[in-house]
Amino acid sequence: MRAACGRMAARGAEAAASIILLVTLTFVLAHASPGGPAYAIMGLKVRPDTVAAVDHQIGADTALWLQYLTWWKHLLQGSLGTSYLLNQPVTGLLLGYAGRSLLLQVSGLGLGVILTLAGGIAHGKFYDTRFGRLLGAIEIMFYAMPGFVIGTFLALLCAGLLPSSGIADLHHAAPSLADRLRHLLLPALSLGLMTYSGLARYLAEGIAAELRLPYTRTALAKGLGPWAILSRHVLPNALRPLITLLGLSLPALAAGSVAIESVFAYPGLGWLLWRSALSHDYPLLIGGVLLTGLATILGNLAADMVNTILDPRRLYA
């Protein structure tokens, strides 16, 4: 236990070091690249006098090291600053976008789990038949496709049937839940397919291996139906490694959603980072980088913890 705590503390220190490194790198590169926030705020045809006035107003004309230290001071006071472009507190903006991203990822994960269970069980049950091999080929196909290719092909297939852009139909003053769900369907389905392709194979292999074991034949001989065998005996054993894998795939889910957000014009955190970088909105960019960095590191930590807890050597030692 003490060893585990010590490891956790070491991991925590490493995480803090990474965050500091990331923020510093972003800070330096953002200020080193040509252009500045004034062009995005005032438009491209802004006069040099106005650029100077704008930079002074937003506080972007002080020395670089001073801006850097001020940012850390504000962070320790609990504030992430104000967006240059939108003049809103960064924290509020980030929470809104992160909330939408989280909604997309959670629905994607949910759909992915449903697809994995359905596809994995079907594949595992019919593992050696032609139908099973077809399902296996489908899994491999989706595994090889990157997320944005899956999203693009889905948008192509469903063009005209399902909306592939935005989050709601703005003609209605208060878009209904059904409308919002319709807009969420294709992006969530893309994420779900990405999750399914990685996990279903393992589930199918696990189920097929379990079904080959003698105890299933014994259960059949005892008179249990195939569904009962599946649900009562096979699934619990096959699901255990799946949960580990699911935990490990959480950071990848966050990463995959960035490309999906771009394909479907979904206003989430990935989209926000990209836009902030392009328009030199440094507070929002660095705040977003910090948030994503923290989320990734926490996700990795959680995955490691899950892995450790569910480590069969520990469980059965």
């Binding site: 006069r47 107003q57 809103q88 852009s165 206003p267 836009r275």
Partner: protein, 563 residues
């Protein structure tokens, strides 16, 4: 229902202002509108900055603090400027807040009489509101986004109210009243002193996206919702003093990087830009019509770097004239713009032809697009053809590179045609595609890293050259000529058009930049939406009160004649 509320609470940055419909003093005028039969009807969703640029986000509701077209199109709907420029680049009498503009005292004073309009809370718009705007401009200093345009605030000595509806602008020296009216007063909206109070830059700047400052307006629309990076929703202002809007709800969508064509097809957007090559896209899709908007009032030009010693030949006006004469603009218009543009060799746009000098109107210009003339000019300047076909003088080749934005394919095509044109008169051109930031950084650095670059410029108002072609002007690569300076000064100080015409003719002779044809914006519009051709004008002023929809049980306001 619970889920909707939860969703609304979860997004704290979404700011909704639903006060309008529930305010008692607005019910009566609204009912009057209904009884008059001009009931607003229908909802339209349009992308932001349509007609001028790709969609970009609304980041400021303050008309004084941003000059980006995305923000201005929205703020002009809320806070009407004194002068609204019409489709012919003159003052639009119906939509301007000024009823009349009279020069007095030998053009040292401009008397503006306001129309008896009211703010949306019932308080009348008075001359004191114009004085309040002037005070804000003085406090903002260099932060005022339109500083120096039309002489505001540098040429204005004072602004004071004569009576309740008359305000006087007093100048330091005699100034061209048309120039001030069209270039300056078109960015001068009276602001509600009673609603805003005494705010300085430190209050106004952080509150640019605060809709509480946009609650009291005098324009045709009122802002009801602003969701940052997504959309803004507007409803008609029943107390607006001009022609009322036909729509009951207008939604301006401004998500960058969205897919407008897909949204158009699924019915979520009612109009969008299409790439120029797809200007006839209505042949591929049913249920839509293609409308070609006129070119923005401005020009695309090649700017030369006068401070780069490696290309000294740009200082020679004969070489510049030759560069323009060699341009086969007819091919450019036909091939790049499918015939939907105009040839132009002047720094004054030819559409609308309001401000063209008589010489320009009759086509009697020193440059005509004639390659023979170009070769003659180059020979006279001492540039003779060398061994490889490129002209040389004192061992220096007549060759340069031009930077162009890589994301606008039309400009690349124009340059490829220009490249072969120049080669046929003995000039070598190499094309460098770069990013937008590099273009803007090169223009402002004054260094020698570039020879020439392609940029665009839009003009709102009179196309005088002040701030561009006078010494120290922006966006010209350092061009400086004494006679040009005096002509530009004359055009903004003397009344009437003679000063402007003299400047134009001299600029045609000098060719400080080489003008290339620019294209309009093809739109693809859903059949349900009408009034599109009237709603955007080349000066970038939006008039969505002209828009109407033909479904949702709404009647056509014009009896079926408008597109």
């Amino acid at each position: 229902m619970f889920l909707t509320r939860f969703v609304q609470q979860a997004y704290p940055q979404e700011i909704k202002v639903f006060w309008f419909f529930f305010s008692k003093k607005n019910i009566l005028p609204f009912a009057a509108l209904l009884l008059a039969g001009a009931a607003p009807c229908g909802t339209a969703v349009i992308p932001n900055s349509i007609g001028q640029a790709p969609p970009s986000p609304v980041t400021s509701l303050n008309p004084l603090l941003s000059s980006s077209v995305a923000n201005n199109q929205l703020t002009e709907l809320l806070f009407r400027p004194l002068v609204w420029i019409g489709q012919d680049d003159r003052m639009d009498a119906a939509r301007s807040l000024a009823a009349s503009i009279t020069p007095l005292d030998g053009n040292r004073r401009l008397r503006v009489v306001l129309k008896p309009w009211r703010w949306s809370d019932g308080v009348p718009v008075t001359a004191d509101d114009a004085v309040y705007t002037w005070e804000r401009i003085l406090k903002l200093g260099d932060l005022f986004a339109f500083t120096h345009l039309g002489g505001i605030p540098d040429k204005v000595a004072a602004v004071h109210a004569v009576d309740e509806h008359t305000v006087d602008f007093v100048f330091r020296a005699p100034t061209n009243p048309d120039w001030v009216a069209l270039n300056g007063l078109s960015n001068f909206p009276p602001l509600p002193r009673h609603a805003w109070g005494d705010l300085g830059p430190d209050d106004l700047w952080p509150r640019q996206t605060d809709p509480s400052l946009a609650r009291v307006v005098d324009g045709p629309f009122i802002l009801t919702e602003l969701h940052l990076d997504q959309f803004a929703a507007l409803v008609p202002n029943p107390l607006y003093g001009g022609a009322p809007a036909h729509l009951a709800r207008l939604v301006v969508e401004f998500m960058e990087g969205s897919h407008p064509l897909a949204a158009l097809r699924s019915g979520e957007l009612d109009m969008t830009h299409v790439p120029l090559a797809l200007w006839d896209a209505d042949k591929r899709l049913t249920g839509f019509k293609a409308i070609m908007l006129p070119e923005p009032f401005g020009y695309t030009c090649v700017i030369y770097n006068f401070s780069n010693e490696a290309v000294p030949f740009f200082h020679d006006a004969r070489v510049r004239r030759a560069l323009t004469d060699a341009t086969d603009q007819k091919t450019m218009v036909d091939v790049v713009y499918h015939g939907l543009s105009h040839e132009n060799r002047m720094v004054v746009p030819v559409v609308p032809p309001t401000w063209l000098s008589p010489a320009a109107r009759s086509g009697n210009l020193p440059v005509r697009g004639d390659k023979v003339l170009a070769r003659a000019e180059l020979e006279a300047a001492g540039w003779h053809t060398g061994a490889d076909g490129i002209r040389e003088k004192h061992g220096k080749r007549l060759a340069f590179s031009v930077m162009v934005r890589a994301d606008i394919p039309e400009r690349m095509e124009l340059l490829q045609i220009w490249q072969s044109d120049l080669r046929s008169v003995g000039i070598e051109l190499s094309i460098r595609p770069v990013t937008t930031m590099q273009i803007e950084a090169s223009l402002s650095c004054g260094c020698s890293s570039w020879d020439a670059l392609v940029d665009g410029n839009t003009i709102a108002g009179i196309p005088d050259g002040s701030g561009h072609f006078d010494t120290g002007g922006d966006f010209t690569g350092g061009y400086s000529d004494a006679r040009m300076d005096s002509l530009v000064r004359a055009s903004v100080e003397e009344p009437g058009e003679q000063g402007l015409f003299a400047y134009e003719d001299y600029a045609a002779q000098e060719q400080p930049v080489t003008i290339l044809p620019q294209g309009g914006f093809p739109l693809l519009v859903a059949n349900r939406l009408g009034g599109v051709a009237e709603f955007v004008n080349p000066q970038g002023f939006w008039a969505p009160e002209e828009l109407f929809v033909t479904d949702e049980g709404c009647l056509r306001p014009d009896g079926g004649t408008r597109r």
